[in-house]
Subunit: 200 residues, 2 copies
């Protein structure tokens, strides 16, 4: 059975993909793009190095624009990112009957709570899977054994999170580097391949 996994090239969504592959799913990694910046390239590279099928999901930039509007209103990115993630899932549910993302137990946003998951699954007759089984420490230990990773200061060319296009659009609207005020600098872990070149 096919499973569509929202994929950023990070260790969480890479682990989600691997778990589903090992359960017998035919995994398709999906990276969303709203046509603002080629932010899918890092995810494509990670997916290719891991040997997974990868697909860029080109979506209407209305979703991104509404998310950015929320972020600018609130001066805080969390709800805007959460809005985008929920809208993306709604769209994917038209194409895939098993849908997964790499949200962990201790992630706060983007995140579907239990009621949202139940509603999402029931309305679309889909199955939704995330990494809620696992905490940060477990995922760190497991992925350290599985994947080669790079860890760099986040920029628009080394990650495929929603953040990249959000920031590009904010800077387009509000002026050069305005997004720095809303997003703190952080380090970005990206999966560059299998450790020991042996998969599991």
């Amino acid at each position: 059975m096919k499973a569509g996994v929202l994929y950023s090239g990070g260790k969480d969504s890479s682990l989600m993909a691997l778990i589903l592959k090992n359960m017998g799913f035919e995994v398709e990694l999906l990276t969303v793009n709203f046509g603002i910046y080629k932010s899918w390239l890092p995810a494509l590279e990670s997916a290719t190095n891991l040997g997974f099928n990868h697909r860029v999901l080109k979506l209407d930039d209305k979703i991104l624009r509404k998310g950015v509007e929320l972020i600018l209103e609130e001066g805080f990115p969390n709800n805007g990112i959460n809005y985008i993630h929920h809208e993306v899932l709604e769209l994917i549910a038209n194409e895939y009957s098993v849908i997964a993302d790499g949200t962990r137990r201790d992630d706060r946003t983007p995140k579907l709570n239990d009621n949202e998951i139940r509603s999402f699954e029931d309305r679309h007759n889909v199955e939704y899977i995330n990494l809620q089984s696992f905490g940060y420490k477990t995922i760190k230990n497991i992925t350290f054994n599985l994947f080669e990773v790079t860890n760099e200061e986040s920029n628009r060319d080394n990650n495929s999170d929603y953040e990249v296009e959000i920031r590009c659009l904010i800077d387009e609207i509000k002026g050069h580097n305005f997004s720095n005020k809303l997003f703190p600098k952080h380090f970005q872990t990206r999966v560059s391949g299998w450790k020991n070149n042996n998969g599991f």
Copy 2:
């Protein structure tokens, strides 16, 4: 790294064991016993058929007795079962640094909520993993492809859940078949081996 998985022989805890094995953990399946009835035997058989190491954890029957007391007071088994599960986890945390059980997203009891998980992990410096990533439907589909299962009306000799010893103790205290009033008849799915004899 070693992981202790609370194991009943059912499809949930069997899937949990498999996921951890595929992540590179050295899995030990643990079936709790309080010395009231040999309820570990079905779990031992399932574990053996799947090729996992299995260990019977003989625990003080004080835990079981306090759980049963709660069930008899309330006339309802949920809180008593939950009490026993939490106490069992506390004890296992002295021996294992990675601890897992087969509780699903839509399970209500026994279950650790997010705050209980955080407290449990922090107090004992352990990692806790469950099946919260998955809903009932997903687990049903996945395990159907992986495992041979039997499905019979539940009795004391075809399952290794806490329920078996709880019922034995209740019947011992309150008289023959009293536990039938507290536990509805239900069907019991038990893993009897790999499908197609090929593991994953």
